[in-house]
Subunit: 204 residues, 2 copies
DNA sequence: GCTTTTATCTAGACAGTGTCAGGATCAAGA
DNA sequence: TCTTGATCCTGACACTGTCTAGATAAAAGC
């Protein structure tokens, strides 16, 4: 350590600092403008330092995608826990999905529309599967059947995921602006709610 | 021209050749691995030659996205014209949407999940709007109201686009494989059809 | 016909990128 | 104290996109 606040030779927790830097880099430059050297500069470290913590740029993005999935699940959980009733909890889960996509577009693109992360990575695969399981569980609570056996329940899962993912991806790329011009500017959420409810299995 | 088949100094139609090369480059390397120099090499031309036809790499991808939208519309039209009945024609349009996404994943990503094309470009904006209009028209034929005025009809458009886009994007990134394991391997199309039908406005 | 203009393409250079090799620094254990 | 291993830096390499200057050929002017 250097006693007078100067930058010490060893960072302390460079791995964590690089993840923070990578997120900032991603938000500012986008997935396609992302730069490993830029991350190193943000973390105040030489351009080759990241290699000691991440094999290459893809590995850093893989780790970042993993923490993004964790926050993604938190966003869904936040909405779900505030809702009452099985149907409303599923709708809330979808709204959380959309919340995350629109508030963290860069991370969402990294997770669902990029080839740079290694999706065979065990940790990333784990959190991605966990978020999928959240959805399956919420759908099962509504439709009744076991979504991994009952053919109709499988379609319920696909329908729920597709409508929510479609809304999220289109909203993220600014392609649902026509909703505002039609009077949904004040609260798009009402519109989203209506859309999600359309695919729910019929009330018994 | 050089009479004995050697490469002439002037290409003849380099602009078109670059678009072909760019498509091959995109399919092979993906949006994030796309290289302008690689396109030049594929077209058998020096690395700086493309500058005379496209301002920069983004302009080439913008032009490519425009031709991709044209083919996108053709894929939807092919399905629609083979279907009978207003509802079935809308479903068919959606299947064409999904057809294109799964058969041309790189182009689809370029069109809907990339920041590299300039979507303010007049030509690109034109074809993108045209494909949107196709969808609006097909929905209007089913729901009755004017989708740009009637609030309910606007939601019908958003619902149709979202479910179809969601299916397309998830299928493209291999995230609907669970459908196969549930018995839809033989014909996913049946599953897609069922999903799209769920969001259609109720039959009168 | 011949010259001049214009469009097209090549060659070379520059800064910036990811990654590799070799050396410097420092904490911790022998 | 000395050695070991982890951490970080400097320098280099082959690439990238883009800029410049010059070469080539087709078209236009006379």
């Amino acid at each position: 350590m250097n006693e007078r606040g100067k930058t010490p030779y060893h960072h302390g927790d460079l791995r964590e600092a690089l993840l923070v830097a990578a997120e900032a880099e991603l938000k500012e430059k986008g997935v396609e403008g992302f730069t490993l050297r830029g991350c190193a500069k943000r973390a105040g470290v030489s351009h080759a330092a990241p290699a000691h913590h991440f094999r290459d740029a893809g590995a850093l993005l893989t780790a970042l995608a993993a923490v993004a999935f964790a926050r993604f699940m938190a966003a869904m959980e936040a909405r779900r826990s505030a809702a009452a009733g099985r149907r409303e909890r599923l709708v809330a889960l979808g709204l959380g999905y959309i919340d995350f996509a629109t508030s963290e577009p860069a991370l969402f693109r990294l997770m669902f529309a990029s080839d740079r992360p290694d999706f065979d990575d065990p940790e990333l695969h784990r959190v991605a599967s966990a978020s999928f399981a959240m959805l399956v569980e919420a759908v099962a609570a509504v439709s009744g059947g076991d979504p991994m056996q009952d053919k109709a329940a499988v379609l319920d899962v696909a329908a729920a995921w597709s409508i929510v993912h479609g809304i999220a991806d289109l909203a993220l790329s600014g392609q649902l602006k026509f909703l505002d011009e039609a009077g949904f500017a004040a609260d798009r959420e009402t519109a989203y709610r209506d859309l999600i409810r359309r695919i729910l299995p019929k009330e018994p």
